[in-house]
């Protein structure tokens, strides 16, 4: 009850004219910047941060929250319409969003994504409101051992994303991990696999790599389709085409609710974040038997699974930030910097010392979620027409966008070089039947895995028992083993069932 009254007074602050205006302004900027390819939420928030300096702290933070939040909505636009994801979670959205858009249903894909974002985010906010401080304490329990086994689960769930040849998928995953080993090692701060190239000391920048491997590689593929001209139905796309029918909505329900809840819990774990949430939720969805279409071919379930988990995690990430002052992700780290600019010390005492501020920020998340949804819905009928651009114009256009996006995300031509090489390699990957997404996702997850594995062994004195004696770690380990042997168990089960059937027959 106390929580509700706090939330209510928070809404009173958030719903003043000025603050709604700031939230709306932030949401517009957030969506636009999020839709700019290569600019994920991290880059977006960092670049827009200075704009908020003009306001008083509460208003500024409300605006910043809206920017952060609306970014997630906009991020889906470029991955769905032109297959240029701006960050890791968007890779998962592109897996189904882009195929669905190419089938001539860009409106449906965007609507699914935005409604799932809204609902997933809303669930995340409810979790944040009522269980925030408790879950933040829970997040603290994730030390090196727990993170190692959690990442083991996430990495093994990547294997479910592998399409076609298993050995090729395994090779792609390994290549991704090897790429992530380039640069200065976190554990020892020594350089490895840099081959004397100074630029490589900070590793391969992830965003240009994604833009190249998925976006630029896509351009090479379009090149082959040019002769066939646009195989899309270049019919007039109207508002009608954005509507989701009853069946579509019922397909979204399961992945969205699971995504929102799972995402918000994962969001509370420092260092896990939205990428993990969308991978795990997507792969669970992929294993579900209730999918109407196969995931990866343009299934509504896939888009909803990825986006709901992403936004749930984005809301959840505020938990550790507000309750403990710990940034759970790169983006919340920038937000933390923003909070400190006004002399606010986010930390364990924020809720007791300045409850007005903390609660008006939480309420403003609700407000900006609604504003972002409305804005996104208004924009979809216009922005979806991008899909009607003929291939011959789309090819140089996406190329230019990939250059600009990869430069903007790193402010360096080195980022552009990574994008170009990544694009060529991504094309080669596709032609040889190696899938890009397992490679990219393994690349980003394995860093956390290695760092924590080594820390855990360091703490335990080299003994592997640390992974079994800690309860949470043990649970994840059991899940991992279960995942590993589930195909075997299923096979055995089916066999025995078949035998029984045979006997009875």
């Amino acid at each position: 009850m106390e929580t509700l009254s706090y939330l209510f007074s928070g809404f009173q602050t958030a719903l003043t004219f000025q603050n709604i205006g700031a939230a709306a302004f932030g949401a517009v900027l957030g969506i636009i910047v999020g839709a700019m390819p290569g600019i994920g939420s991290l880059v977006g928030v960092a670049l827009l941060l200075p704009l908020t300096y003009a306001f008083n702290p509460t208003t500024a933070i409300i605006m910043l929250g809206a920017i952060y939040y609306a970014n997630m909505f906009g991020g889906a636009f470029s991955s769905i319409l032109i297959n240029v994801p701006g960050d890791a979670p968007a890779i998962m959205t592109a897996l189904d969003g882009y195929p669905l858009a190419r089938k001539g249903k860009p409106g449906k894909a965007l609507m699914t994504s935005n409604i799932a974002s809204f609902a997933g985010g809303l669930l995340g906010m409810i979790v944040l409101t009522f269980f925030g401080p408790a879950l933040a304490q829970f997040g603290l329990k994730f030390g090196p051992a727990e993170m190692t086994t959690l990442m083991l689960v996430a990495l093994s769930s990547i294997s479910w994303l592998i399409e076609g040849d298993v050995m090729k998928g395994l090779a792609a995953t390994c290549i991704g991990i090897l790429i992530s080993t380039i640069g200065i090692s976190t554990n020892t701060s020594a350089a490895r696999y840099t081959f004397g190239v100074v630029h490589l000391l900070s590793g391969i920048n992830f965003i240009p790599l994604v833009v190249g491997f998925i976006g630029m590689a896509q351009v090479f593929n379009l090149l082959g389709q040019q002769e066939r001209e646009n195989d899309l139905v270049v019919k007039k796309l109207g508002i009608k085409d954005c509507r989701l029918d009853k069946e579509d909505v019922s397909r979204m329900v399961e992945p969205t609710i699971r995504g929102g809840l799972l995402g918000s819990v994962i969001g509370f774990i420092p260092g896990a974040g939205a990428t993990m949430a969308s991978i795990v939720n997507y792969t669970i969805q992929k294993k579900s038997k209730r999918n109407k279409e196969k995931l990866g071919t343009g299934a509504i379930e896939g888009i909803a699974a990825s986006e709901a988990a992403n936004n749930g995690a984005a809301a959840g990430a505020f938990g550790p930030l507000l309750a403990l002052g710990i940034p759970g992700s790169g983006t919340t780290a920038v937000l933390l910097g923003g909070l400190m600019m006004w002399g606010l010390q986010p930390g364990p005492r924020l809720f007791t010392d300045s409850p007005d501020f903390a609660w008006s920020l939480i309420s403003s998340l609700y407000v900006s979620n609604i504003i972002a949804l409305i804005l996104a819905l208004v924009m979809i009928p216009f922005i979806m027409k991008v899909i009607c651009i003929p291939n011959k114009i789309l090819i140089p256009t996406i190329t230019v966008i990939c250059f600009v996006g990869s430069y903007a995300s790193t402010t360096s031509m080195w980022g552009v070089l990574i994008m170009i090489i990544g694009g060529i390699l991504g094309y080669v990957f596709q032609r040889y039947g190696y899938s890009a997404s397992p490679m990219l996702l393994a690349s980003i997850l394995s860093v956390t895995f290695e760092v924590n594995l080594r820390r855990a062994l360091n703490i335990s004195g080299g003994s592997l028992s640390i992974f079994v004696t800690k309860p949470l770690s043990l649970i994840f380990l059991l899940i991992f083993v279960g995942l590993l042997f589930s195909p075997v168990i299923k096979k055995a089960y089916r066999k025995s069932k078949a035998q029984k059937a045979e006997k009875s027959a």
């Binding site: 960092a46 670049l47 941060l49 603290l140 329990k141 994730f142 030390g143 090196p144 051992a145 640069g183 200065i184 976190t186 554990n187 020892t188 701060s189 020594a190 350089a191 004397g196 100074v198 630029h199 490589l200 000391l201 900070s202 420092p270 260092g271 403990l324 002052g325 710990i326 940034p327 780290a333 920038v334 933390l336 910097g337 923003g338 400190m340 600019m341 002399g343 010390q345 986010p346 930390g347 364990p348 005492r349 790193t410 402010t411 360096s412 080195w414 820390r455 360091n458 703490i459 004195g461």
Partner: protein, 325 residues
Amino acid sequence: MKKKQVALVMAGIFAMGTMLTRAMAAEAAESTSSFVPDKTIQFNVSSKAGGNSDLITRTITDICTKEDLVPKNFVVNNNTDGGGNIVRIETHDTKDPDHTLLCFSSGDMQSMLDSDIGLTVEDFAPIATMAADKQLIFASPDGNYSSFEDIMAAIEAGTKINVGGTKSNEKVVFDMFAEEIGKTDMFNYMFYESSAESITALMGNHIDLAMGSPAAAISYVESGDIIPVVALSDERFVAPLDGAPTMVELGYNVVQSPMWRGILAPGSMSEEAQQYWSDVFAQVCETEAWQDYLNNYLLSPYYNDLETTRQIMFDTEADYLAGKE
């Protein structure tokens, strides 16, 4: 006649010569007394927008612009490539040394010296140190050790202690601490990316001790989530960090290594420009906005002139190189 003519010509030449020299001298005098930037100044930063180096740089440039300390505009150039080394190379190789500055902290020292780019502080012109940070050792209230005595007792009993902290300064000063108590092999120092990360690990009781600066730790100390154990400074910190004794109080030599944040210029920057920038930053440090910045981030004022700055930066470099061997 001839003699007269020669004398006249000579006199003429002499006169012209004097005038010329005088004019040249005057010009030279003018430029020594006042180098003034006549182009946009590029301020290079090796952290992302929003990072620590970026914040201090933007604060400085904002003050310069708002208070009209510098007639030209600044362009802040963020580039994290190569662990920040690319931007250092760019600064060093710039074609316009008088209009190029680099934000540099003692934390950047390691990244520069460990890489094989072959640059040292000697290749640059140190301009000023602006602010400094000292460190403390923290423990968790529900952990095994809550005081220096507990730590020593555990070490005597042969227990290895897990410590978390960042690379660079925190590591350097912790090594100095371990050496001072003579137990270098009883600590397990683990690198974390940021103080926030290591303090989080401490709060979850995943490690025994964490290094941290006042700014990174103060709110957790206030809330009682972590406790300061040893102050690595020559005097105690202000409340609520005043519970931690200094090494001198504990009966050892003083252990400290202030982490400074400062500014470097290309080695080829002219003497006049160096003096100019040194003066500008001295003025920056006297503004109210700068005081606000220091208070917000719990930093100590640490402005030093050209000569002292050189000394400090070279000393830090020598300390780091000595520790490496």
